[in-house]
Symmetry: C2
Subunit: 219 residues, 2 copies
């Protein structure tokens, strides 16, 4: 029991999607605990859930009695705790690059387009929907242009972001591409990103982590 | 020459400040290359600098011929390349917690208050200064409340965020506290954060990394 893995997840959460990919790539079985981000004013905001994560965000990975927060810190923990099928490359240089690509999404694209940010614009500033969508598109386009350039400029880009095995960078990229499509971005404008997405989605680990495959996806 | 470290930095950049602390904690000498984020429409946006970092952001750490991007990925690289005076704890559990605290700032507070975001509000949406300030304060207050709770709820909080040695978490926390003060946040409302800040700033590694100590600080 104490080694059981339970993931507090929401089907469309990009950060939870990253961890689902990582768990699947490592072949670790886990139970999904759905947290509905929109129902009841957001189940992530309840006092009960704040005891699990004071940030009021998903995902949290419960490992035995430990509550692990922050998707990238969870992926690093998985790699250190179960070293087989690594999510990080072996050399310091390649690890740096994989992490930098992951963080370029996790710090510089995704937080700006998060649900709570869009809710702030709607409720505090009455920003109309088209302007909110333009905001989201702006940061994804700017982020993807930089990432596309970082992928094209580097010899170690392979079938995946860094080399011939999926890494933490791909765990972040694919959920962000999913979000980009939701907001009407033409992903074909970023041919290397589009090619890597196609390679990833052919793997069951990525396919089974998709929002549409989740138990809490609405019927 | 090939092992020389050059940091593309801006005195007030919170992400560059993190890396300055890390380099100082590890006792690694480095040269500062100032990139002025406001002068000439932002030196980080020039074609020349985009060749160094397609994201158009500071910091970048040049290590010999390698251009390393993303502050947290740089700190991990420093630790893997020069293991003495580690910036990460030793057990997987403590490492996870230190990284989660670092990411709670680097993903969920700082990106929302970045210069480019505030410039977007000003230039695209004509958001007045008081509303822009309220936005910044909102995310810092929300983030600090969660981090304060994560620090208070955990036995491994010590003199620093995780234990009795500064870690990657403190490298992120202290620059964010500096930003909080700039925006008029009463940091005393978060007593554990305030206590850790005081402990950190007594160390030369943190003191010398402060914006006011930088060569590109305006006279």
């Amino acid at each position: 029991m104490s080694d059981q893995l339970r993931l507090y997840s929401y089907w469309r959460s990009s950060a939870a999607y990253r961890v689902r990919i990582g768990l699947n790539l490592k072949g670790l079985p886990y139970e999904i605990v759905p947290i509905h981000l929109l129902r009841d004013g957001g189940q992530q905001r309840t006092e009960e859930y704040r005891r699990i994560n004071p940030q009021g965000l998903v995902p949290v990975l419960q490992h035995g009695s430990r509550q692990l927060r922050q998707s990238l810190a969870i992926l690093e923990y998985l790699d250190e705790t179960w070293p087989a099928r690594p999510l990080l490359p072996t050399t310091a240089r390649s690890r740096q690059r994989a992490r930098a690509l992951a963080l370029a999404i996790a710090c510089d694209v995704h937080p700006l387009n998060n649900l709570r940010v869009l809710q702030y614009f709607e409720h505090e500033w009455n920003v109309p929907q088209p302007e909110r969508d333009a905001w989201v598109q702006h940061w994804i386009n700017e982020g993807f242009a930089a990432i596309e350039s970082m992928l094209n400029d580097h010899l170690s880009t392979g079938q995946y972001c860094e080399g011939e095995t999926p890494t933490i960078a791909d765990c972040c990229l694919i959920p962000q591409v999913y979000n980009a499509r939701r907001f009407g971005i033409d992903v074909a404008r970023f041919p290397t990103i589009a090619r890597i997405e196609q390679a990833c989605l052919q793997l069951p680990a990525f396919d089974l982590a998709r929002p549409e495959m989740q138990p809490d996806k609405p019927a």
